[in-house]
Amino acid sequence: MKKTVKRAAVLYFLVAIFLAGMILLTVQFVMNGSKWANNRANRHIYSGGTVAQAGAIYDRNGVTLAASENGKRVFAKASAVRKAVLHVVGDTSGVISTGTHYLYRSTLSGYNLIDGIYSLKSKGTGNDITLNIDSGACRAAYEALGERNGTVVVCNYKTGELLVSVSKPSYDVTDVPKNLRTSERYEGVFLDKACSGIYTPGSIMKIITAACAIENIPDIYMRTFECKGEYKTGDGTVICNGTHGKVSFQQALNESCNCAFAQISIELGAQKLKATAESLGFNKQLYAKEVPLVKSRFNPSASSKTELGWAGIGQSTTYVNPVHFLAIMNAIANSGTGYAPDRIKQTGTLTQIIGRMPEIMVRMNPDTASQLKRLLRSNVTDKYGEGKFPGLVMCGKTGTAELDDAESHSVFAGFCARDDLPLSVVVIAENAGWGSGVAANTANRVLQYLDDNR
């Protein structure tokens, strides 16, 4: 009898297991509650797999980009705006995974551990989000790209605010084309090329090579390079865009001379080039605040001089992510401190009080940054001409990313050296030919719009 009673203590053991399980369950709710509550199967938020009830999304000027009205999602009034901001705002089904609708879904649903989604249920809306995005400028960028696909990103390099983020092709969420998933015209439409795209950079990569040269070759400004239209590396040939004759380092950048930069790259060697690129964020998983970026890749060949030469001028196996490159522009423009482009201005009461702290994505030696700034300024004054960017005090570099089987991408990266217009820009116009064409013109038009509408 006594023994039997003692054995009853097995119940304590059972209770302990049970309580341990309850604690584990509660911990799981704390850890994963947000993810679970914001699952697309949650019919408090989603209806038929699309967002129905959630907070509104506004642009920096208070323009409504998306909001819930009577259990339905409504969007910006103008069709052109809807298309221009599609990828930043995101679709309501979460197919565009970097869109605000999906990425900030727990903010939009107003989920928190204490109340769950009670505010959504009682008030019919979660937290509103105000973006740094200027929808008017996005529209200008979208229209400036014209027929071309590609991406335009503009950022305030002093604060990190992302003002423009456009990706093409795009579509109108309120009038979804029937052939969206089948037509070639819409290939890659669900990809926000600004943060999820990578491109062969072409000559804008010479900025990175120049940075490496400034830091590793003390007498780089004394050097001259011979350009005969092509450069024999010993195991192959690098072809130039022209025959530049004898050029200095600055002239080489102005002229975007492949021969000179191939020589510089080979002299620097794969290791140093790679070290510089990686110090600027290449080959690294980066986040523009909460937005994951696709890795920029730079793996110059150590065995083939020709391949190394091509890598140093932005061809071969080099790829850059537009938003990452924008952050590099921010670093050059802002004395070495490259803020992460941030699309969010406010996400509810707490951030309104604290404000969103800027985050540094790219760091550069301030001295290197100021030298690069001077070089990029000389590109505009000595080569492209101020007339291409009237009044902007532009610094920048064009690029023509050569492709194997299609027309080149037209690329431009730069910034305004004006205290009252601290904007950096990256434009990629796919299959649009020379960088000084579509890309530079698009950059100019967007920045002019922002200058006019300050």
Binding site: M1, K3, T4, V5, R7, A8, A9, V10, L11, Y12, L14, V15, I17, F18, L19, G21, M22, L24, L25, T26, Q28, F29, N32, G33, S34, W36, A37, N39, A41, N42, R43, H44, Y111, N112, L113, I114, D115, G116, I117, Y118, K121
Partner: protein, 424 residues
């Protein structure tokens, strides 16, 4: 029996007042939520609360003592179940309140019967025979009704025999092992257990089969205290289970979603993922009765009721429900320690172990911490058989209960529950 101190009686009344208040708030919320004022719901809730107080006042006549901590917990849990039913339909609420009434009746009758150990001894044969007949009938009928294998339907009335057999199973086990007179007795008992578990396996009610097996182990341990033998039995059972899985792969398929519910969220993981999604939507205080979406999922008020409570009444109330069960176990343990005979001690431990094990299978099953087996949450889940069985099992714990001190945390628990409910 010693008279209990005055202080305890006072606390008991306080607890009952708090529970009634909680239930009244739930009732108001449910009734106000209705589009048209429903008189019958008012009667149901008023009747339920009145019944609680009547029991508190006159229950002493049958139970012979007047501490009602155990019943208070059961009333609290049943009340939550009733509230959930009432938010779905008047019909469910009526059925549930009748089931609770029947449960209370079974509880009292059983208590009267087993108070005399000789009656208990005598009862084991009819109980065992009736159980086997019920399960056999179930097996035959199930073939006819196809699909819902563990149900017997008689006209408009349907019930789960396995639930009733649970009550008998504890009695048979506790009595048989209390007085193991001969090897014949032991063999008969083992045969009975095998028959029960086997029948449940054939009905594909693996969850209940597991509960029976667990209870068997628990009783065997209580009787023998031989951990090695228990380990042997478990190993044998495990090997048996592996053999079954090998020969009948559908058994394993039933549990294939375990720990992979999100990959199968629209098929085999449907219920579990919805429980997690909507439970987390409710936060600590819930979205309000009737405001949830889990209720649209199959079995929301039966197997998934824990998730429904999380979503609509909040995590705090759900945890209060779980903690209540832990208290039942603590009561059972103390009751066993003061029991007059080892029969009561074994029955008390077996009954509360069974309840606790079923609770774990249910709560952890629907939240994917354990494989989903489709068992109900005792006292709370909608369904007559389940409620009656829960109350029946409670009788064993009560019967063992010689006077023991009232644990004070009971009061705190109820307050917590009330807070959760008010905010809901």
């Amino acid at each position: 029996m010693a008279k209990q101190p005055k202080e305890n009686r006072f606390r008991q009344t306080t607890v009952m007042v708090l529970i009634s208040l909680f239930q009244a708030i739930c009732a108001c919320e449910v009734i106000l939520y209705q589009k048209e004022a429903s008189n019958s719901l008012i009667y149901i809730f008023a009747g339920y609360i009145a019944a609680e107080w009547l029991y508190m006042m006159f229950g002493v006549i049958i139970t012979g003592n007047d501490y009602f901590e155990l019943e208070a917990i059961a009333f609290f849990l049943s009340g939550i179940g009733l509230t959930v039913c009432a938010t779905i339909s008047e019909d469910y609420a009526l059925k549930q309140v009748i089931a609770i009434g029947l449960g209370l009746a079974v509880y009292l009758v059983l208590l009267l019967l087993i108070k005399n150990i000789r009656v208990a001894m005598f009862l084991r044969y009819p109980a065992a025979v009736a159980s086997l007949i019920l399960l056999a009938v179930n097996l035959v009928m199930a073939k006819v009704t196809n699909g819902a294998l563990n149900w017997i339907t008689l006209g408009s009335f349907s019930f789960q025999p396995s639930e009733l057999v649970k009550v008998a199973f504890v009695l048979v086990g506790a009595v048989s092992l209390d007085k193991l007179l001969s090897n014949v007795n032991l063999i008969r008992y083992i045969a009975f257990c095998l028959a029960c578990v086997g029948a449940l396996f054939l009905m594909r009610d693996f969850g209940t089969a597991l509960i029976f097996f667990f209870t068997f182990i628990l009783i065997a341990y209580m009787r023998s205290g031989d951990v090695r033998t228990i380990a042997l039995i478990c190993t044998a059972a495990l090997m048996g289970a592996l053999l079954i899985i090998y020969f009948k792969p559908y058994v394993a398929n039933r549990f294939s979603a375990y720990r992979h519910v999100w990959e199968n969220m629209d098929t085999t993981g449907y219920q579990q993922t919805r429980v997690l999604i909507y439970s987390s939507s409710g936060g600590l205080f819930g979205l309000g009765l009737g405001e949830g979406k889990l209720r649209d999922v199959f079995a929301a008020s039966t197997d998934l009721v824990f998730g429904l409570i999380c979503e609509e009444m909040g995590l705090i109330t759900a945890i209060a429900v779980c903690v209540s069960f832990a208290f039942i176990a603590v009561f059972a343990l103390r009751a066993a320690k003061g029991a007059k005979s080892s029969f009561y001690a074994i029955a008390s431990v077996a009954a509360s172990g069974m309840i606790l094990f079923q609770l774990m299978l249910n709560v952890f099953g629907i939240t994917d911490l354990l494989p989903l087996t489709g068992v109900t949450l005792p006292f709370v889940s909608r369904g007559g058989s389940s409620v009656i069985c829960s109350w029946g099992l409670l009788a064993y714990i009560k019967a063992a209960g010689a006077p023991f001190k009232l644990p004070s945390p009971d009061v705190d628990m109820s307050r917590k529950a009330k807070k959760g409910g008010t905010a809901a």
